[in-house]
Amino acid sequence: MLTVYIDFKSPAAYLAVSPTLALAERFDLAIDWKPFRAIEREVPKLGKQETVGESHRRVRAASQRALSVKYAAHQGIDLRFPPQPGSTDLALGVLLGIEGDPLPFIRGAFNAYWEAHADLDDMAVVHALLVESGVTYTGSLADARSVLDAAQMQAEEAGIVGVPGYVIEDQLFVGREHLPWIEEIARAKVGA
């Protein structure tokens, strides 16, 4: 079992979906998709009187965005950031109430956020995604945010600090750059 923590507003999580699925397929690994509310911020505007810390945060955010766009292009994705990062809490909370394979909903939610800049904290939008994806949702949309709050607390207590977060054989990794190590663990499991 590979547990993968995601947030639909995270470009890193979005770009991790395909390589993660490819790895899981190679090793016949089941994936337990879990929500984690990541922090995504706008690139701060250049200030007239920036502190070194403010300048650092602005340059880092701009660099991370540029690299996300670059590697997205390698996957054939035209990554366009919304004017402001939107909340995805409702869609994340819903993820926990899906019975069976949630992948169609996950793909739909990522595409809705990144292609249409949809509001994934909007009841009508998330309901439409559930319908379009054809998944079975047994939870309550009204309770989904509080479900997420509880899951978030559990994830933080488990040491999750960002997305995509991977847990396999009690090892925690944040970022798809760790997939070679995760693959090594998966291979050892298959070999065993």
Binding site: V59, A66, L67, G159, G175
Partner: protein, 224 residues
């Protein structure tokens, strides 16, 4: 010295006090050797308290902390654990530092080695990085850094003068250029007009520096 310009195919910015740079050194040196190229290695001395807050530890316990939220602490702890496990895969020991060190002197040492003994850069990194991360080296002491140079087989008699003169000036000339040039951390790789932070870009660098054949690889921490 211009931050983004070099005659070399790749500029590599590192800082002795960065655990990320520590675990990137050997893979980057290996890439250099694999490609038969000479990269332009340079220092970037991080101002860590300005963006991560500050902290001091004694005997493994945090005795003072400023500007760090619980979430920041969790992220820092994860980062150290992560760097440590990759260091262990390289046969290296990485202990969390007990304070935020001033790495200016060993970083100026990088400039000295690049100017006087380029072939021994890997030896210098071996003499400085692993013992520093085992908490065995006072990198703020110029005599200690000079001894590291000598241990690496590098003539060091002029280093003290360099560190307070030309080397200091070169180091200080670079620092204010970083943020305006889009550079904020280490390791940073400058490939033409591309700025890539982190050793996860090594697969891409290999692909780009060896002719861009086939599809560009994704980010990855390569493991042996």
């Amino acid at each position: 010295m211009q931050v983004l310009h070099s005659d070399a195919p790749l500029i590599v910015y590192v800082d002795v006090k960065s655990p990320y740079a520590f675990v990137a050194i050997r893979p980057t040196l290996a890439l250099e050797q694999e490609l038969g190229m000479r990269f332009d290695w340079r220092p970037l001395t991080l101002d860590i308290p300005s963006y991560l807050g500050s902290a001091e530890k004694k005997q493994g316990k945090v005795v003072s902390s400023k500007g760090r939220s619980p979430r920041t602490w969790n992220a820092i702890r994860y980062s150290y654990r992560d760097a440590r496990r990759y260091a262990e895969r390289q046969g290296l020991v990485l202990k969390g530092t007990e304070k935020i060190w001033d790495s200016r002197i060993p970083n100026i040492g990088i400039l000295w080695v690049m100017q006087t003994a380029r072939d021994k850069l890997g030896d210098y990194f071996d003499a400085v990085y692993p013992p520093f991360w085992r908490r065995e080296l006072d990198i703020e002491n110029i005599e200690v850094v000079t001894a590291c140079l000598e241990q690496a087989g590098i003539e060091a008699s002029g280093f003290a003068a360099f560190a307070s003169g030309e080397g200091s000036a070169l180091h200080d000339e670079l620092q204010p250029q970083f943020h305006p040039s889009g550079i904020y951390g280490v390791p940073t790789y400058v490939l033409g007009d591309e700025i890539l932070f982190g050793r996860e870009h090594i697969p891409y660098l290999r692909w780009a520096l060896s002719g861009r054949q086939g599809s560009a690889p994704d980010i990855a921490y390569e493991i042996a």
